[in-house]
């Protein structure tokens, strides 16, 4: 083997090592979060964490149910806002707008993704929360406020992935339908959307993941009260806020309980990601 060949082999090996960095990092993160969070869950019982109603972490009471429900509530709310707006934009931009308009609007919408989440939270505090307080009642810091802001925040995810999957539908499908005398909307409704279904579903699931994982914006507008909300105007605390609010001063078992919160969040996100990747892969193989 010449030196040149040996060098090539070495380089290939080094690149393989580097390429394994992402999966290694994922493994290390998983390991550390679980190692810190699992022992306390087993010590006090997983059920108590998942279904307990009381969160008094300094008195060994670690019920996370209000936070789990809180996360699910704001996520569901964000989807109610995000799905219609996101899909409408995606459909308009791929099927109905001119190429020129699409080339202008798409980057503008992608810019929405670049705005820092604290700015969204701040806009919520300054504009949305006072509006809800004056017109709908309550303190304004609520499930509703968090849902609206999160709904806006997940738009870029839903829009850009949906656009990609709509654009991946072969032109001949649309042409076939139009040739049969269908209108553009009938074509979209009956041909294009069903063909792009799995990609669109993947975009929604990824948007969901973003909403569940969002922290700073939610802390600023959701009110953070540890109780199960009874209306959309009630304040709520999410899993993510629970970690961020108390991490600064927690120690001992309290800190471990926050890692346990992280474990639950982590598991939810991993399930969502797996489903999203599997659905997206389904579309690709099609």
């Amino acid at each position: 083997m010449t030196t040149l060949e040996r060098n090539e082999k070495l380089i290939q090996l080094a690149l393989l090592m580097i390429a394994l960095s992402a999966i290694s990092i994922l493994a290390i993160i998983t390991l550390f979060i679980f190692k810190e969070g699992m022992p306390i869950m087993f010590k006090y019982g997983v059920n108590k964490f998942l279904f307990g109603l009381d969160w008094y972490p300094t008195e060994q009471s670690f019920g996370l149910l209000p936070m789990i429900i809180g996360s699910l509530a704001v996520t569901a709310g964000s989807l109610i806002i995000g799905i219609p707006f996101g899909l409408a934009c995606a459909i308009f931009l791929t099927e109905f707008s001119s190429l020129r308009l699409r080339q202008i609007i798409k980057p503008i919408i992608e810019l929405l993704a670049g705005i820092p989440s604290v700015v969204y939270g701040f806009m919520g505090v300054i504009i949305l929360v006072p509006f809800i307080r004056e017109h709908l009642g309550g303190s304004g810091l609520s499930v509703l406020a968090a849902s609206i802001i999160l709904g806006i925040m997940i738009l870029p995810t839903i829009i850009s992935i949906s656009i990609d999957s709509l654009q991946a539908v072969p032109r001949s499908y649309r042409e076939g339908s139009i040739a049969l005398g269908a209108t553009k909307w009938q074509t979209t409704k009956m041909v294009t959307l069903p063909s792009a279904k799995s990609g669109i579903i993947a975009s929604i699931i990824l948007g969901m993941g973003r909403a569940i994982g969002e922290t700073m914006a939610v802390i600023m507008i959701a009110g953070n009260a540890v109780s199960i909300p009874h209306s959309v105007l009630d304040p709520v605390r999410t899993l993510t806020s629970n970690i961020a609010l108390e991490m600064g001063y927690a120690s001992g078992e309290h800190r471990q309980a926050l890692f346990a919160t992280g474990v639950i969040l982590f598991i939810i996100i991993m399930i969502l990601n797996t489903i999203a990747n599997a659905t997206a892969a389904k579309q690709r193989t099609k």
Binding site: I29, G114, P116
Partner: protein, 278 residues
């Protein structure tokens, strides 16, 4: 019930148009609102003096330095890993079990919420490795967070380099590595740089992962072991604790302007790059 398809189409089209218009309006309104309230606060002094009195008065100089230091650190760590991964995936291997594992890792990492990165960085870098709240801990955490973006954009950039460029290099007797460094990488550079610029944007706007790893000290950092507050964290603290609304708006305006510049630059570079190869 029969609805005239043409009428239905008109109605639907208007609704879709309206929803799109509202989305675009929201974006412009956010930018307009922040700039309208923030620009009057901005001046040379605001950018070049340190915050005093917890940020109630003074400027944001130390937080700008903190943001830049943390971002540079994250980019320096993540770029070699990300580009290396992309080179391996596109140039050195065919689709196999290993590439699937690598892609799976990258995709999962992309979906992990920033607060989890924050928790992880706190327990590993700040506590276990005893880096403390520092630029080092913050940069490492951010680097892990932006790695998937760099991998994905670099991979796309490398893939879009036409295959015949490589064939020419091979036919001249170039080895794989020579081909990669002298032919493929230079051609893919604009695409790779786009990914790096987008990652800079993400690092600048991040709060949750940074606040628990880099801390929130207001002093100018003196080494990689100094704790430092970024602009995004500073803005969050000012707004949430109601320390100073004018300064909060000012900081937000600087953030928004930085993000606008970054995104527009990235978009233009990408556009130019795509034009060249399609």
């Amino acid at each position: 019930m029969y609805v005239n398809p043409r009428l239905e189409q008109r109605v639907v089209q208007s609704i879709l148009w309206l929803f799109t218009a509202i989305t675009v309006f929201i974006l412009f309104y956010i930018i307009f609102f922040i700039l309208k309230n923030g620009l009057p606060v901005l001046n040379y002094q605001f950018l070049t003096t340190n915050p005093t009195d917890m940020g109630k008065s003074g400027g944001i100089y130390s937080t700008i330095i903190g943001t830049i230091a943390l971002t540079i650190g994250a980019i320096l760590i993540a770029t070699p890993l990300g580009v290396g991964t992309a080179i391996y995936l596109t140039e050195y291997t065919l689709e196999s079990k290993i590439t699937r594992v690598i892609r799976f890792g990258s995709e999962c990492l992309a979906g992990i919420p920033s607060i989890i990165f924050g928790l992880f960085g706190f327990i590993l870098f700040v506590t276990k490795l005893k880096f403390g709240w520092s630029i080092l801990s913050g940069s490492l955490t951010l680097a892990f967070m932006i790695l998937p973006t760099i991998i994905r954009t670099s991979e796309e950039a490398l893939k879009s380099v036409p295959y015949n460029l490589r064939e020419v290099s091979f036919s001249l007797g170039g080895t794989k590595w020579q081909t990669v460094t002298k032919v493929v990488l230079p051609s893919a550079l604009p695409g790779i740089v786009t990914g790096v610029i987008l990652s800079v944007g993400r690092s600048i706007s991040e709060t949750a992962a940074v606040i628990f790893t880099a801390g929130s000290a207001l002093r100018i950092p003196t080494s990689i072991f100094s704790s430092s507050r970024t602009m995004a964290v500073h803005f969050y603290i000012l707004a949430r604790e109601g320390i100073s609304m004018p300064n909060a708006y000012g900081t937000a305006a600087v953030l928004i302007i930085a993000i606008l510049i970054i995104n527009i630059t990235a978009y233009r570079l990408m556009h130019k790059f795509m034009k060249k190869y399609s």
